[in-house]
């Protein structure tokens, strides 16, 4: 089962996504995509670590090339989040030629090994602001990634201030 969880900033996506894998049997893998640079990233990372404590997740850090993450066969995988992964693929020292294609094929490769995949992503295209160059390109690419992943997913859930709303499939 593949589930995509989307929503705005601090909308309760992470808690909802973690909850989906609560009863999962077998290994639970948390793929963290946020690069641990800067004070605010550190705060976010520690807050999420605290949230996951005692829930049985093994953390794997993977900032680019998500398909290359090593996961056990039949495991349940939580990927957090696609927005960071997309930024990493676009703006790291060696940007991917096709960040969207790389992310989508990477997720599909993981889906062949995993029993369950839950991906957290963000909605970034709804603030009506015209951004320049890199940011505008990022919004576009992430929009394409989200659309492609939603097509692959069984369930697509949007979190609105912590309330899950099914956009595709059903609320787990």
């Amino acid at each position: 089962m593949i589930t995509l969880v989307t929503g705005g900033s601090k909308c309760g996506r992470s808690s909802y996504a973690e909850g989906l894998l609560q009863g999962a049997e077998g290994a639970k893998i948390y793929i963290a995509t946020m690069m641990p640079y800067g004070e605010e990233a550190q705060i976010t990372i520690s807050r999420h670590r605290e949230m996951r404590r005692g829930k049985g997740f093994e953390t794997v850090e993977r900032y680019t090339d998500i398909g290359g993450a090593v996961i056990p066969l039949g495991s349940s995988v939580l990927i957090e989040d696609i927005g960071n992964l997309c930024a990493n693929e676009m703006f790291c020292e060696e940007p991917a030629d096709d960040p969207c294609g790389r992310i989508v094929s990477g997720i599909k490769a993981l889906a062949e090994k995993a029993e369950d995949i839950v991906m957290v992503t963000s909605q970034t295209g709804s603030d009506g602001i015209d951004y320049d160059g890199g940011t505008a390109e990022y919004i576009k690419v992430l929009g394409q990634v989200n659309a492609a992943l939603a097509q692959t997913a069984d369930n697509v859930i949007e979190c609105v201030y912590g309330i899950p709303v099914a956009l595709k499939g059903k609320i787990g």
């Binding site: 705005g8 900033s9 601090k10 909308c11 940011t135 990022y138 609105v160 201030y161």
Partner: protein, 130 residues
């Protein structure tokens, strides 16, 4: 508590009036009202603006929201959705957006009904229509 959310100018106040029979003058403007009158108001709109004002006074908006959920649990709270964009460069804006998210989750958690209004169309996303 009943929470009504959605983007700016989607018809949230109009919906609150029509659905719950609240007149315009009974709707308190979170952009200008006092912090105290919110605790006895039937309805407050622009709660995201109130959050910004609380933060400017170094008040903790999440604790304020928790207290509001306890002390005025019968109210209708109107809160814009503000998180669906690029993370703001300005630290203050960034923190406001995060706090608004947390306050929204708190209010939604305590609410018996949560409505989302888009293009004037209200969908119930938590609870049941009575």
């Amino acid at each position: 508590m009943i929470l009504i959310t959605g983007g700016a100018y989607q018809g949230k106040r109009k919906f609150a009036g029509e659905r719950f029979g609240i007149s315009e003058e009974k709707m308190l403007d979170g952009g200008v009202c006092s912090f105290d009158e919110v605790f006895s108001a039937e309805c407050v709109y622009g709660y995201h603006k109130l959050i910004k004002r609380l933060m400017a006074q170094r008040e903790d908006p999440v604790r304020y929201t928790e207290r509001l959920c306890r002390e005025n649990s019968g109210m209708i709270l109107i809160l814009d959705e503000v998180g669906c964009g690029i993370i703001p460069l300005d630290k203050g804006e960034r923190q406001w957006r995060e706090q608004t998210g947390r306050c929204g989750c708190t209010a939604a958690g305590h609410s018996v009904q949560v409505w989302r209004v888009t293009c004037g169309i209200a969908q119930i996303i938590k609870g049941e229509e009575i």
